[in-house]
Amino acid sequence: MNAILRPISALGARALGFLEFIGGMGYLFRDTALAAPRSLLAKRGRRLGWQNLWAQMVRVGVRSVPIVILVLFCIGAILALQMGPILRNYGALSEVADVISIATFRELGPLVSAIVLTGFAGASIAAEIGTMVVSEEIEALEAEAISPIRFLVVPRMIATTFMMVCVAVIGDLTGVAGGLTVGNLVLGIGGHQYLTHTFNAIELRDFVTGLIKSGVFGTLISGLACYLGLGVTGGAQGVGVATTRTVVLTIVALITVDLLFTTTFYYFGW
């Protein structure tokens, strides 16, 4: 009997745990959405809110720009090297620019930038908030009648969402630059010809859908990091566990959400 019930019970517990996680995330997003206007517009604490937001933007976005540039440049170059010989066989070498620009603007720019930001922002937010939980700082905030959501989560979520969009634009352009460099130096495609193909291939909707994705990715990265950071238990070990879970869960969530977006855009013909 036990042998039959045990796996069912374990499955049920996992399902309940998953629902609790989704519910908790839902509450966090709701509370953040309610607290955001006060955090940004209220007179009291205004100076602090803006200072905090600016500091988070620098931490999350500005510092991750060099890594995003390096990674997306390499991806653009790799794509050009992989696609060049195949397209040359079909007599369509210059189409390399079309493939790279669409792939970068619609997919790789936002997704790869988000994965870099997960390592940069997600892990550090989870570790920072987790450490604050362990050192009683969150409890101290509550005891001072300062909402941790308004004080900690709102600036981090706004900063990550906004900077994710900015970083994705930089990533898009860098990916094209990587393709252009290899296309010109290795494949022998003229720079002017490459850019003409790129501008002809890219439509506004490719750019906009990429930006929409980036915004959602930013919210997801910061939301998961804050949620898992606030849920830390068990001291320093708990902080480590939360940081690892943040990186793993965020990357899984990013790719799942990306699939949902791409499927939706595909069916609507965007």
Binding site: R44, A143, A145, I146
Partner: protein
């Protein structure tokens, strides 16, 4: 004197385990009440219930004889929290801010005071705890005792009516511990605040307490003045207050089924 806080039959469970069992006690306005108890006695949980960071599973806590903590809305709870100050065991300073910014934070968040006035108030509060010259230091640069004093300066920044201290002497050397105790006494006298101190350090408790309450395994054991507790004939109170190695507390631990645990059967 009226009661500042009335703890009325409060119970609290964690994961089905009863941590506090129908605790009743009063905190009289202007007094320093020390809540004593060993590790796991539920004294820190009781403090967290009194500051509104946890909610009771049974019973209620009345503040200023009228307001029920259990019935307070989030906004009312925030108003109550603005009227109290809490010194956490570790000091709980915000590590990303300087000492001065830590003290200024409640003022910036909850008042419309201009920045110049806030800076003056911060200096006054830091002077009260003897840290004025360390205002610009980051918490990581402070010793344990200085962190607690900075935490205390932050706790009194909004001129609270009630101050809560969670293990104020824990982890401090005897001299620093005595300094913190003197600060608690001075703040109580100078500012006229009501103080609730959770500790298991008896030297410290005898220095600062007007009254003491002893908890054991989540249950109320005894209450009285320092003198009454010192002279208590209750064996549990006697053992705890005098820090004896033998008595009901240690007997209970030794009778905890060690032989069964070791040999696997009786």
């Amino acid at each position: 004197m009226p009661n500042s806080i009335e703890v009325q039959g409060v119970s609290k469970k964690f994961a089905g385990r009863l941590v506090l069992d129908e605790i009743r006690l009063d905190v009289v306005e202007g007094e320093t009440l020390v809540i004593l108890g060993g590790s796991g006695s539920g004294k820190s949980t009781l403090l967290r219930l009194m500051i509104g960071n946890l909610r009771c599973d049974g019973g209620d806590i009345l503040v200023h004889q009228t307001k029920s903590l259990a019935a307070m809305s989030a906004a009312e709870l925030d108003e109550y929290r603005k009227s109290i100050g809490v010194l956490f065991q570790s000091g709980a300073l915000f590590n990303s801010m300087s000492v001065a910014d830590n003290v200024a934070l409640p003022l910036r968040e909850h008042t419309d005071l201009p920045e110049e006035t806030i800076k003056i108030i911060v200096k006054i509060k830091l002077e009260l705890v003897g840290l004025r010259e360390h205002a610009d230091k980051m918490p990581a640069m402070l010793s344990g005792g200085m962190k607690k004093r900075a935490g205390l300066a932050r706790a009194i920044s909004l001129d609270p009516k009630i101050l809560f201290y969670d293990e104020p002497s824990a982890g401090l050397d005897p001299v620093t511990s005595a300094e913190i105790d003197q600060l608690i006494i001075d703040l109580n006298r100078k500012l006229g605040v009501t103080s609730v101190v959770v500790t298991h350090e008896m030297d410290s408790a005898f220095r600062i307490a007007n009254r003491m309450v002893l908890l054991d395994q989540g249950k109320f054991v005894a209450a009285g003045t320092a003198e009454e507790m010192r002279n208590s004939r209750d064996p549990l109170v006697h053992q705890f207050v005098h820090g004896l190695a033998e008595g009901p507390l240690t007997d209970r631990r030794l009778a905890g089924g060690y032989v069964v645990d070791l040999l696997g059967a009786e």
